[in-house]
Symmetry: C2
Subunit: 387 residues, 2 copies
Amino acid sequence: MPETSLIFPAREYQNRITRLQDRMATAGADALLLTTAADVFYVTGFLTRFWESPARPWFIVLPVSGDPVAVIPSIGAALMQRTWITQVRTWDAPDPADDGLSLLVDTLASLVPEQGKIAAPMGFETHLRMPLADYHALCAQLAPRQVMDGTDIVQRVREIKSEAEIAKIRTTCAIAGRAFDRVSEIAGVDRPLDQVFRAFQALLLGEGADWVSYLAGGAGADGYGDVISPATAQPLERGDILMLDTGAVREGYFCDFDRNYAIGPASDLAKRAHSALWSATETCLEALRPGMLARDVHQILRDALIAQGATPGAGRLGHGLGVTLTEWPSFTPKDTTPLRAGMVLTLEPGALVGPDRIMVHEENIVLRESGAELLSPRAPSDLPEIG
Amino acid sequence: MPETSLIFPAREYQNRITRLQDRMATAGADALLLTTAADVFYVTGFLTRFWESPARPWFIVLPVSGDPVAVIPSIGAALMQRTWITQVRTWDAPDPADDGLSLLVDTLASLVPEQGKIAAPMGFETHLRMPLADYHALCAQLAPRQVMDGTDIVQRVREIKSEAEIAKIRTTCAIAGRAFDRVSEIAGVDRPLDQVFRAFQALLLGEGADWVSYLAGGAGADGYGDVISPATAQPLERGDILMLDTGAVREGYFCDFDRNYAIGPASDLAKRAHSALWSATETCLEALRPGMLARDVHQILRDALIAQGATPGAGRLGHGLGVTLTEWPSFTPKDTTPLRAGMVLTLEPGALVGPDRIMVHEENIVLRESGAELLSPRAPSDLPEIG
């Protein structure tokens, strides 16, 4: 049994806490309530796949000064006590009569004055991972304390990655890069797509992924119809474009990028589309600077695709990345989030190649003061042919 | 591109809808709002790993009569249109100004009279997967319509599995059973535990899992300290007990069971503990009947462990299983959920084998009118020795 389970040294977490508490003080929040796997992992280093079970809620309460308090099911006590967290309060969950609610109310009541405020993420791209009825009971029992939106507190801190975090994401990207380099071992003419998906996940594990939280993709003549469907047993055919898009995880940090492969010789149509996507990404890599807004990145990618003669696809053209597969901001026409140095981002241009047929391309980067630095090994400029 | 993506024939979903609507009518709900991957999959067959991205909310609105309406991000339209669902309304997500809220409000307003009620799961073992601020706005905009707790409506329907669902879970259990039979290929003295975890996930994929949503376990002399921690690089040693516990997925249906292995010859202590766990499970398999309460199963397992000379571990001793890794009910002293034929359940006794050291054992069953029927291949009564 290891003595500690830290992922990072304690000072990494203490620095995160300080940054959160600075924003809490500015926003007038006396405590921050966190409930999701990502937010709990971010402040504690508590990493487990047990979140897959929807049975139990888990809570972290961060006061505006002082250390965080974990209010968690007793089954998690041993692991939480091996993190840097020293204040761990537990109950025997699942408990249909009181699933941690009274313990959470006690904890918040002891840390927040009656005229005080409790922040919880409740905005864009968030959800509250606890029963809604318990949340309503909590608000009633803690009154006159108020609950306020803590989305901005969490997102403005989490979106700036430390060098230690950037190193983790680079490691995960390298794992996926090595697996992508081996796709010719597992894909080719007549190979059913669902078998390719299974074998690619095994490649990722073999290259060092702890687990594979996301794998999507598609295959079809000169492109694919959508990029979120599970694979069917349809065999690959000569002339298909195979795309694999993975969110593998190592030590809690994700990559999220894709690669395209032509099964047999690629058509000119597919080659041109791949080249347009690759060049648009190149243009964006060169142009990106802190101070731009998220919507500017959308515009850069869109303009670059059009300049290459391609028809931009719908939807966002990239997003944040870190302790979840996707994070804010989103590269859409409407997202005005300012880009800052330290953000880890995906560039994900898509192009229409025919009716209901698209190709997509994705890289992962960290934004530096001087511009974009690649974290994923850059895709080849020419569409690779296999099988 | 396949024309349909159904998992089951449409009548399977229509039967689920009828059962939900019967309970909605009894409860006085005019519509049911569903937001989680499991609930959406349950009524539509919409299966994607894209839920891993927290960016976008997804909604299903089921009126008390008539077909369900999907209110979803446009990126999901192609896949949803290949299910049996015919009413699909989309918006371009993520949209920071209006992330589906107005479309959802319109949909609910058109289906629910002003004096009507909208049910949403908000109780034990649930959460609402949408931004809390949007939920509050929804309640305000739909007033005087009321939102009521729909937990019981969903749980009483989902907990009874059809024969088609039982067959899916049996298939997933068989995949995991074949992988467990091959553990000697990947585990042994000096093999680091994290490499065993990676290799076991690859075995599951090789045996037919679509993906591996959960793998936990532990290893240590005569037992392990906790069962939710990720693996470390600690090498296995002679005398260790290795436990692997997996929630593999095939076509959206989970298994959830574990197996123990002695690395080298097992000690008498470990053999006795394994035998007690196996025998307690056997006793429970023989005793289980519809009409018992969930807490009765806890008592049966606990009594059987004590009769075998073992010390029962803390926590729940099993739970429901299906389209998520764990479902209600929980085999705890407090859960009074009645057991009914058609429930798929795990029996998961645990025993203390020393200070901070436990062993656990788990099987998956379906409860029939006549008693328990195994879905997982039964563990060997004697602790297997490998490596």
